[in-house]
């Protein structure tokens, strides 16, 4: 059997964003993977220290599109800690609603791409059509389909009235049976099971060793979800089940995302049922931000997003560092791809739901 080196990327039909994989194969079996990153490195960590605290709410939202709500949220949470700002209860619920709306859209996108990669094109189009309802929700509630501009320091920039609550409930009622149906298909369809069961396995011990997070970790049995372990926004008042599976394969990662999409619908409903009244921001004035440092974490669709912010006496941060969930998850690909078949490479890479814009910043 011959040995070959296959280049995958940086521009490749199966990659949403550029990343270069140098894959050594023996016959059709992957022996070693070398990842070369940096193709969309934009220096945002440098740029953020050149803008003031409030401009950075806008900048952080543009680090990534699928988890664009999580970045300004975690950043705002860190600034609020430094300034001792208490976010009003209504804003905490509205933050959770925005978080979960983005989660449904993000998870369905990834699961839809999986159907595309296994050649189940009608399923791909169906999932994307179902996801389109979430895009419509975002456009209706926030005025934009990707960067929803929900967060500000001290609260949120949007509110929902009885009419928009009714609209949201109506859309969720229509969405749930569709999501249930997709879960059933991914649970039983032979063409999906054949290409995803036992493929790209990451064991529990390997998941712990790599420090992976989010659905990638939970699919390997790691019971960790920031919303439960380090609650923020309104999550300490919501029932948040944490879904885990044990097999750590491509199928498990897809199923975790589908179950979390279903749970997200329930969480939005919980928020609507108990949405408190009151203001949506702590103060209408721009608050003074004193020197200090803080860490904030939230559960982005791909897992734990952590922000470190340090302020001095300047309105510009001295340092802002964030670690996106994709960052540690890349390393685990080396394990998942080991001994995989060449035809499964794209499916396995997609299964970590990689975000390259997030990773490279």
């Amino acid at each position: 059997m011959s040995n070959f080196t296959i280049p995958v990327g940086p521009l490749h039909v199966a990659l949403e964003e550029p990343m270069y994989f140098r894959i050594d194969v023996q016959g059709e079996t992957v022996e070693h993977v070398n990842i070369t990153a940096g193709h969309v490195h934009r220096g945002v960590e440098y740029l953020i220290t050149k803008r003031n605290v409030f401009q950075n709410v806008v900048l952080t939202e543009r680090i990534c599109s699928l988890c664009s709500n999580s970045h300004p949220q975690a950043y705002s949470m860190a600034i609020e800690q430094i300034a001792g700002i208490k976010v009003p209860p209504r804003a905490e619920y509205l933050r959770a609603i925005a978080d979960e709306i983005k989660r449904v859209a993000s998870h369905l996108f990834n699961v839809g791409i999986l159907a595309h990669l296994v050649g189940f094109e009608s399923m791909f189009m169906h999932v994307m059509e179902v996801r389109e309802r979430m895009q419509d929700i975002k456009e209706t509630i926030f005025g934009n389909r990707m960067d929803i501009g929900a967060n500000t320091i001290g609260g949120v920039r949007y509110d929902i009235d009885p009419a928009s609550i009714g609209y949201l409930r109506e859309q969720l009622d229509a969405l749930l049976p569709d999501v249930e149906e997709i879960i059933k298909i991914y649970n039983t369809d032979a063409s999906i099971l054949r290409r995803t069961k036992g493929i790209g396995v990451l064991s529990y011990d390997e998941a712990i060793d790599c420090g992976v997070i989010g659905p990638v970790a939970r699919a390997a049995g790691v019971n960790y979800d920031v919303r439960v372990k380090a609650p923020y926004a309104a999550y300490d008042r919501l029932e948040v089940p944490v879904h885990t599976l044990k097999d750590g394969d491509v199928w498990s990662r897809a199923m975790i995302r589908l179950m979390e999409a279903r749970t997200a619908i329930d969480l939005i409903r919980q928020c609507l049922d108990t949405l408190p009244g009151g203001p949506t921001v702590a103060t209408e004035e721009r608050p003074a931000i004193p020197p200090g440092e803080a860490i904030a974490k939230c559960e982005a669709p791909r897992g734990e997003l952590i922000y470190y912010v340090r302020m001095t006496d300047s309105p510009k941060p001295e340092r802002v560092k964030w670690r996106v969930p994709s960052f540690p998850n890349w390393d685990a690909l080396g394990i998942m791809l080991k001994k995989a078949k060449v035809s499964d490479i794209a499916i396995i890479v997609n299964s970590i739901d990689p975000c390259i814009s997030c990773t490279e910043r």
Binding site: A37, G38, H41, G43, Y46, Q81, K86, I208, D209, C210, G211, Y224, V226, V228, K229, A230, P231, Y232, D236, A294, I295, K297, E304, I306, Y308, R310, T312, E318, R319, K321, W322, R323, F327, P328, W330, D331, E360
Partner: protein, 197 residues
């Protein structure tokens, strides 16, 4: 309520014989953020080992150069006041590196802080924590800080052709966007390959 192990401060002090400064902050929801500043960066590995035994996960590593603290000018005939220092005596001269290792302990965050003077180096945590590999490679391309015994110290994001320590120098915007314009890229390609026949 904190899930940090009982007596964590004592355990950290035992692992770092040069000394530690320890503090915690608990938010309204009971989430604890702890900070452990090492007096000597040489104690990093033993602290990392302790946290590994506890079951901590390395979330990420932050590096920066804290600004120098302004020292008032001495009056005539007086000796200049000494520079303030970080715990352990590293000068706050604007060039010292502060390296923050953010560990997750089942939801709570413990940040181990080490200071390294300009031109210095620090041990790699990658042999202990696989998740330290990429962050340490990234910090080595952003700053002129050497990570000792890193198993794979090659560049992570920034190409080898670019000078190192990009966070330690001003990069003019015109240089930054030099390759962003298609005309500029085309001219570069033409200069290297010659015009099409």
């Amino acid at each position: 309520m904190s899930i940090l192990p009982a007596h964590i401060e004592t355990q950290l002090a035992e692992a770092a014989p040069a000394g530690v400064q320890f503090r915690t902050v608990t938010d309204d929801k009971g989430v604890v953020t702890a900070w452990c500043t090492l007096s000597s960066a040489d104690n990093l590995l033993s602290v990392g080992l302790l946290l590994k035994r506890i079951g901590a996960r390395l979330s990420t590593i932050t590096v920066y150069q804290p600004k120098a603290v302004a020292v008032p000018k001495p009056k005539e005939g007086e000796e200049p006041a000494p520079l303030p220092t970080f715990p352990g005596g590293t000068p706050q001269d604007g060039k010292t590196y502060e390296i923050d290792y953010h560990f997750d302990i089942d939801g709570d965050t413990l940040t181990v802080v080490a200071h390294v003077a300009a031109g210095g180096s620090i041990d790699s945590l990658t042999p202990l924590y696989r998740a330290a590999d990429w962050p340490e490679r990234e910090l080595m391309e952003l700053y002129a800080l050497v990570v000792r015994d890193h198993p794979n110290p090659k560049r992570l994001f920034i190409d080898e052709s670019i000078e190192p320590a990009v966070f330690e120098r001003l990069i003019p915007y015109s240089t930054l966007v030099n390759s962003a314009a298609s005309k500029s890229i085309w001219e570069k390609i033409m200069a290297q390959t010659g015009a099409p026949s």
